[in-house]
């Protein structure tokens, strides 16, 4: 089974702190994603990566950065956490085998509270 793990289930940080959220997948997937989930808004894509050291902005990248130094690991960084970044963060990974064979596998999520 594909496994996507996230370093923390719950995290509480103070405004202005630098926050690292870590994600690891064990299935040699090329693609990795960070989403933010908020009630009534569904999931919104923050950043994604299709290869080591490659990254692209998603729909809401402001206030975030990412790092992918190894294929299995994708980190989300909040340079200076703010209260409006309090949310559930979900990591996902995928591998495109063909034009009709792919799906994204999700981690359990990290609920981040910024006070």
């Amino acid at each position: 089974d594909v496994k996507v793990t996230q370093s923390s289930r719950y995290l509480v940080k103070r405004t202005g702190e630098k926050v690292f959220l870590e994600c690891v997948q064990d299935m040699d997937h090329e693609n990795m994603f960070w989403y933010r989930q908020d009630p009534g808004l569904g999931l919104r894509l923050i950043y994604f990566s299709y290869d080591v050291k490659m990254k692209e902005k998603g729909d809401i990248p402001e206030g975030y950065s990412v790092s992918r130094e190894k294929k299995e690991r994708f980190s989300l960084i909040l340079e200076s956490a703010s209260t409006n970044q309090t949310s559930m963060y979900l990591c996902a990974s995928s591998k495109i085998i063909g034009p009709s064979t792919y799906e994204q596998y999700f981690g359990p999520g990290t609920r981040l509270t910024v006070t």
């Binding site: 569904g42 999931l43 994604f48 996902a92 995928s94 792919y102 994204q104 999700f106 981690g107």
Partner: protein, 115 residues
Amino acid sequence: AQSVTQPDIHITVSEGASLELRCNYSYGATPYLFWYVQSPGQGLQLLLKYFSGDTLVQGIKGFEAEFKRSQSSFNLRKPSVHWSDAAEYFCAVGYLSYNTDKLIFGTGTRLQVFP
């Protein structure tokens, strides 16, 4: 622009009753369509996906969905709901871009099941 609409924010059904969750999409080409389920405190699990072929798709846990191009819909159904089906359900449209797959999610439908 691609978008997904889930018109029902919250649905309540009795255990054993049938279920239909609505999903409408907007996408210029042939869509790739997905249904995910999120149990409380968990990540997302794929229920089923549609890429092409038979418009009635069978998934896990007894769920099925029907793709109707004329109505731009991909509604999720289950003939008899179990209490363990209480969760949040997300519809998504997928496409390929930047050498990776992208998903656009709806805002979700929360299902409550009464005994």
